[in-house]
Symmetry: C2
Subunit: 194 residues, 2 copies
Amino acid sequence: MSLRYAILSLLAHDPLSGYELMKLFDGSVGYFWHASHPQIYKELARLERNGDVTHRSVEQRGRPTKKIYSLSDIGRKALLAWLRIPARPQRVKDEMMLKTFSSGLLSNEEATELIAKHREIYRARLQTYQELERFLSSGPILSNRLRLGGYLTLLRGIRHASSYIDWCDEAIALLHREGEQHPPRVRHARRRRS
Amino acid sequence: MSLRYAILSLLAHDPLSGYELMKLFDGSVGYFWHASHPQIYKELARLERNGDVTHRSVEQRGRPTKKIYSLSDIGRKALLAWLRIPARPQRVKDEMMLKTFSSGLLSNEEATELIAKHREIYRARLQTYQELERFLSSGPILSNRLRLGGYLTLLRGIRHASSYIDWCDEAIALLHREGEQHPPRVRHARRRRS
DNA sequence: TGCTACATGTAAAATGTTACATGATTCG
DNA sequence: CGAATCATGTAACATTTTACATGTAGCA
């Protein structure tokens, strides 16, 4: 159901082609939503049948003709009504956590390596997000009501990646301690935020 | 594909019934994986056909007979092979972020209220996780190699919830500033982690 | 010449949700 | 007496992924 609103949300900012929507879901908004191209093209057709969007074909030289979709008044109203319904919290499905859960079946070295690989992915991602944030925060986005939303999601992406990196470091540290000889007294997890 | 390994992962810790698996996906492991009961029962049947799990029926007085599933050697080997394949990063689909992205279409008050509602959900969740963490860290989990994985995922859940709460606070603060009259100079987002 | 980007789609398969179905016990 | 918990399943529907399908242009 939400794919519909994901597309309407992007079109509320700018008219876009299916291909451009796909690129966005793969890229900048990929942090909080994703859709594959068959899904997008099917949904655009459905939205158009429904009157939520309209398209105009744009011919190009040397490139296939593209269809640029825009939000209609009906679509904008539907988006607005949906926006006002409180969101249910995200249902996480994190393969890495699934593997972490059973990491006791692996050696300490193997488990550590898997986490370190993951850390690198999020480190790179964090860097990209931070660069974009630095670029955006030097411009006028913060006073542009319509663009502020995109900036806020970027901030969430930054926090998500950096909290994942922190977890990786913490997990690796605990695995290392585990790998050492057990001291005679019971150990406690070090205190994190209150 | 991963549901298969999600079930095998839980069974690697303890033999469980379908109903108990469902409870876990709804509860303690719900932070990083979820499955509905029709999915679970179907997958258990498939896993048994495949030889990955076996079950024994346990009759109870006053309650329906339950089937307790255990991991077989084949299942354990399959789980181990899967564990060694590096996980792809989580594909997030966060309805709240989708709404945040277009929050410029709402008033500042409406947008703030939506975020505040979300903050409360994660605050409650964080509290539960932290209580569990305090309980676990006072026991011997940290020196139990097999139970450490579950503890590590709990730490991730805590970091996830608390970073979400931090984001809510940051977003609400930015919306408030936005609501005030624009000061003449260009404002910057406050600096976060380096 | 072979790969990538651009651009749109269909078809089949896998995965996941919601509704239907049953029935005993315990708690308020 | 009604609701929730325990316990398992089927059927229909919706969503998502992967493979198939086509064709031009630019780059190495």
